[in-house]
């Protein structure tokens, strides 16, 4: 029994080592390439770079690939979409979670069904809506889509709002608080944990999104990070060292978020799955 356990432990560590190797091998190759010169890249294989302080590639990808612009655009889109999502999510959750009215069931059902429609399949028609609204090739096209087409926030907030005791509302009403005040000073603050998880999960998914900016904002000045690196690669395919520097820079923001807010991310993915 003792020996069997030891073998099992070794087996577990060996498989974990293999898993870690597979996860980090591609990242390692990007990391070393980002600091190499072009000649060095093509000659040195998997060796470490000569000079860890060679930042030329980073400078170049920022300038030619216009990554700075990409970061600026995605940042604006993120701030507006996240603020809107939090606002809409909490408002709808308050209205649907606290009041009974004729349209309640249909609206609830509407959100539940919308959750099932895979967004990517309806792009052909969504494209016409965006065009009709004059939002095509404007920075608010993705904002509108992140606000209107994704209903994850409503589902999450609805779960949380039902866990806030109704007594809190009632005692506030006894003291004469208005319904708006109840929303603002009781419901909204108490939804903070859901808001934190939501903001992190949405930041990652919007930052990663490729097809929305690709389809709706082809203009160069509206490039976000995804589309900027995508269009940089085509004409510069031979400069893998520069491309690697770009990849590395793009990896950093979500990695930093992950490093500090891992708990919320794990909570977010587990909640999402169990719902």
């Amino acid at each position: 029994m003792e020996r069997q356990n030891k073998a099992w432990t070794i087996f577990r560590y060996v498989t974990i080592a293999i898993g870690l190797f597979i996860v980090f091998f591609p990242i390692y190759s990007v990391l070393i390439s980002a600091f190499k010169t072009k000649v060095e890249y093509y000659n040195s294989g998997l060796a470490l770079p000569h000079d860890w302080f060679n930042f030329d590639n980073f400078r170049k990808v920022f300038k030619v690939g216009r990554l700075g612009l990409g970061f600026k655009n995605i940042f604006i889109i993120l701030v507006v979409s996240l603020a809107g999502n939090v606002l809409i999510g909490t408002m709808v959750a308050y209205a649907l979670g606290r009041f009974d009215f004729k349209m309640k069931k249909p609206i609830m059902g509407m959100y539940l069904v919308a959750q099932v429609i895979p967004m990517i399949t309806t792009q052909v028609a969504t494209f016409q809506v965006i065009k009709f609204l004059g939002a095509y090739n404007e920075i608010y096209a993705p904002m509108l889509l992140y606000l209107g087409a994704d209903v994850l926030q409503i589902v999450i907030y609805l779960q949380f709002v039902n866990n806030i005791p109704k007594d809190l509302d009632e005692s506030a009403m006894v003291e004469g608080a208005s319904l708006f005040k109840i929303y603002r000073s009781i419901i909204f603050p108490l939804l903070a944990p859901a808001t934190a998880t939501l903001i992190i999960m949405k930041t990652i998914s919007i930052y990663n999104d490729f097809y929305t900016p690709y389809l709706y904002m082809p203009a160069r000045k509206l490039q976000v990070v995804s589309t900027a690196i995508y269009s940089f690669v085509g004409p510069n395919a031979a400069e893998i060292n520069v491309i690697s520097a770009g990849i590395l820079i793009i990896f950093i923001p979500t990695l930093v978020i992950y490093l500090f807010l891992q708990r919320f991310i794990f909570a977010g993915v587990t909640n999402g799955a169990v719902k």
Partner: protein
């Protein structure tokens, strides 16, 4: 506002809080889905508004032209990859919930790919897979496995390499979800099994597996719908070249590159119906369980 009766306030809140969100959802979820259905019966090009009713012609075309319906075979690579991913993720989830030094660090490290930028990941793998200078072939040579070297992105092999990227990115996510499910199984059950002298396999078969069944089912459905909707990876990597089109990337090309929006809409509807059928199936399974 403070002087209004609660009845008036209630009406104000309901209208004020729900009108815009409901309008947004109608405009960007429901209207597109319905107009998609309408377009699918027309010969619309996607440019201008000229369109003629063609009945089920588009649907007939989808099922009779193998280069359209046949691309589902490429989605199959992602599905099989997804099954593999589920199995591997379950194994690691079990290992990382067992008593093991450093398990939290390993969990955090294995999850890293999921938070990395998806387009950047594909481009990263493009470099890794490069025939001559890619780190994968260089590595294989360095450890003496020259015979394993491949043109990873060539026709006939590309779909495996692309499906692998998907496994690489999502396996940590699946693993963390399984860990969550495993941790919700009461420890007492395992204690009891141990006292009864159950073997490792018996414990897995009769305690672990039933405990995570609903999550396992959900993961299988997500694998299936995820494989049906695969798009980013083949599109960014190859633009569908070398027989790597998935159904969605073909649909997008049909609409925006070949200006056949009517046909593309019909393809989208077909996909939508398949996805919804699977989701209903999953809900049914879940429901049966709760009964």
């Amino acid at each position: 506002m403070f002087n209004l009766s609660y009845k008036t306030q209630r009406i104000l809140i309901l209208f004020g809080f729900l009108t815009i969100p409901v309008l947004l959802s109608l405009t960007f979820s429901y209207y597109p889905a319905l107009s998609l259905l309408y377009y699918s019966f027309t010969d619309w090009s996607g440019l201008g508004w000229e369109m003629n009713w063609v009945g089920f012609d588009n649907y007939k075309e989808i099922f009779s032209r193998p280069e359209i319906f046949g691309v589902f075979k490429n989605n199959a690579y992602y599905f099989v990859g997804g099954l593999l991913q589920t199995a591997v993720a379950l194994y690691f989830a079990i290992v990382l919930t067992s008593r093991l030094k450093g398990r939290n660090i390993f969990r955090s490290l294995l999850f890293v790919p999921y938070v990395l930028h998806s387009v950047a990941i594909v481009i990263m793998f493009r470099n890794v897979y490069h025939v001559e200078y890619g780190s994968l072939n260089i590595f294989l040579q360095a450890i003496g496995l020259d015979s394993w070297q491949h043109a990873w992105l060539s026709k006939g092999f590309a779909n495996y390499s692309l499906a692998f990227i998907s496994i690489w990115k999502y396996f940590g996510l699946t693993m963390v979800i399984f860990i969550g499910a495993l941790q919700s199984i009461p420890a007492d059950n395992y204690e009891a099994a141990k006292i009864d002298g159950a073997s490792g396999w018996q414990t897995f078969r009769f305690i672990t597996l039933p405990g995570i069944r609903s999550v396992l089912e959900l993961m299988l459905i997500l694998t299936l719908t995820g494989a049906l909707e695969a798009f980013d990876i083949p599109y960014v990597m190859k633009l569908g070249a070398d027989d790597t089109h998935t159904f969605v990337s073909k649909t997008i090309d049909m609409a925006f590159k070949f200006q056949q929006a009517g046909l593309a809409s019909a393809m989208a509807i077909v996909l939508l119906l398949i996805v919804i059928a699977f989701i209903i199936l999953q809900r049914k399974l879940l429901f049966r369980e709760e009964k």
